[in-house]
Amino acid sequence: MRIRTVVNNETLDLEISLSNSLLELLRDILGLTGTKKGCDFGGCGMCTVLVEDKPVFSCITPAWRAEGKRITTIEGVGIRDNHHLHPIQAEMLKNFAFQCGYCTPSMVLVAKSLLQENPSPTEQEVKEALSGVICRCTGYSRYVKAVLAAAETMKKGLELDI
């Protein structure tokens, strides 16, 4: 079947199969391998993407649900340049938030969605937002620290814009 969807601000007409998951659409059809597969049924969070700015598990979202929707993956965050990382990415780097990097794209996306909705989250709110992404390398606390720091940076940035 054919669907029209918007992935990382690009409108795409795609041929998919009814049994495809959104994860398969992204990884296998579009080659956007920044979204990872970790379990198979929405348990680990590696496959998290944003649909209309809200985090969902793409491995259990049917690809056809992308019809008419705005999808954001890690490839659509920041600019792929050393100097133009999104503040969340920059803070994760600075805070040594991650190790193996496999969960990092998902962590960036859930943080992005959180800060968009709640620019001044408490530590508990950050932990809640990250709780759907399992990280096996770290103790999570550096991710939490990085998101809180990014919130500060982004608020300052916003003030400057005004």
Partner: protein, 316 residues
């Protein structure tokens, strides 16, 4: 092997129920899709060839009806429930609480209230909550509309009172202040009405987990003007999940609570009523531990309710 061959995308309820009537067991309604692929992998959907998308039916709403009751569309997500003020206060507080305890956030963004009751899994958080809140399930099929009382809705593992051609349209909760028309008539038009409170308690192994025991309690108390008096329970619904093939009510506890004043002594005796049934074991917990957690969760729910009643503004 799960091999869907057609996707139906009805945009009206009539189209949807017509599709259901046409395809019956061959079709499945797709709501949040959070459990579908896992069921498929276990071979549970090998006979399903038609998918019916429920996302265009306009069923994602939460509104106070003209009848004074809360109407929640079947495809309303847990995230919506967890944020809506109607679901966070008074008689419906347990609804928002239960929704916010469904974890993690990605699942709250995807899963729907209708989906989580229609699948018929007794350990989920919505079934037990709706049972306590005395919800009604509005259902539509080609033959028309009907309402299923929540007490009649859950039947067995993966089995509910729904027929294959039925579509849940909405879940309706009693008036927020709890009193029904009938009760008012019984009191001969007396202006004294009852007021409802509810609480949801979930015990799991870790923070993000399915429940080992989940418990929802809804109490309707006589509206009182002074805080000094213990609230008088008029009606109680105490529901438990994770104990068997469907969520159950503790009618022994309800009977003890009704017409009693809710205070420490009542709560303790209610919570300590012996659990005279054997909760089903799971790999998460033994029946013995579950029994203890039933006592703990009922007690915690009742104390939570007492706190809420005491801090609620008395309304004359």
């Amino acid at each position: 092997m799960f091999n869907p061959i057609e996707l139906r995308k009805p945009s009206t309820l009539l189209e949807a129920v017509s599709d259901l009537a046409t395809y019956g067991f061959d079709a499945r309604i797709i709501a949040g899709n959070t459990a579908l692929y896992e069921l498929a992998a276990q071979g549970g959907l090998d006979d399903v060839h038609i998918l019916i998308d429920s996302s265009r039916l306009g069923l994602d709403y939460i509104r106070s009806g003209t009848d004074g009751r809360l109407h929640v569309g079947a495809t309303t997500t847990f995230s919506q429930l967890a944020k809506n003020k109607h679901c966070l206060q008074g008689r419906n507080a347990a609804l928002g609480e239960a929704a916010s305890r469904i974890s993690p956030p990605q699942i709250r963004n995807m899963g729907t209230i209708g989906g989580s009751i229609s699948i018929g899994l007794p350990f989920l958080d919505m079934p037990v909550t709706l049972l306590a809140l005395d919800a009604e399930i509005n259902v539509m099929s080609k033959d028309g509309r009907k309402t299923i009382k929540i007490d009649d809705f859950f039947v067995d593992y993966f089995t509910t009172a729904l027929n294959p051609e039925d579509l849940i349209t909405e879940i309706v909760f009693p008036e927020e202040d709890g009193s029904s028309e009938k009760k008012e008539e019984e009191r001969g038009g007396n202006s004294q009405r009852s007021v409802g409170f509810s609480a949801f308690i979930k015990i799991g192994r870790t923070t993000v987990d399915f429940a080992v025991i989940n418990c929802a309690v809804c109490l309707e108390i006589e509206r009182h003007e002074s805080k000094s008096k213990s609230p008088l329970v008029e009606k109680a619904r105490v529901a438990l999940g994770c104990v068997g093939n469907k969520p159950i009510r503790r009618r022994d506890i309800e009977a003890l609570l009704e017409n009693s004043e809710l205070n420490r002594a009542t709560i303790e005796s209610a919570a300590l009523l012996p659990v005279d049934f054997e909760p089903s074991p799971s790999i998460h917990a033994s029946p013995s531990y579950k029994k203890k957690m039933i006592t703990v969760s009922v007690r915690e729910a009742l104390y939570t309710l007492l706190d809420r009643m005491n801090s609620a503004t008395p309304i004359s």
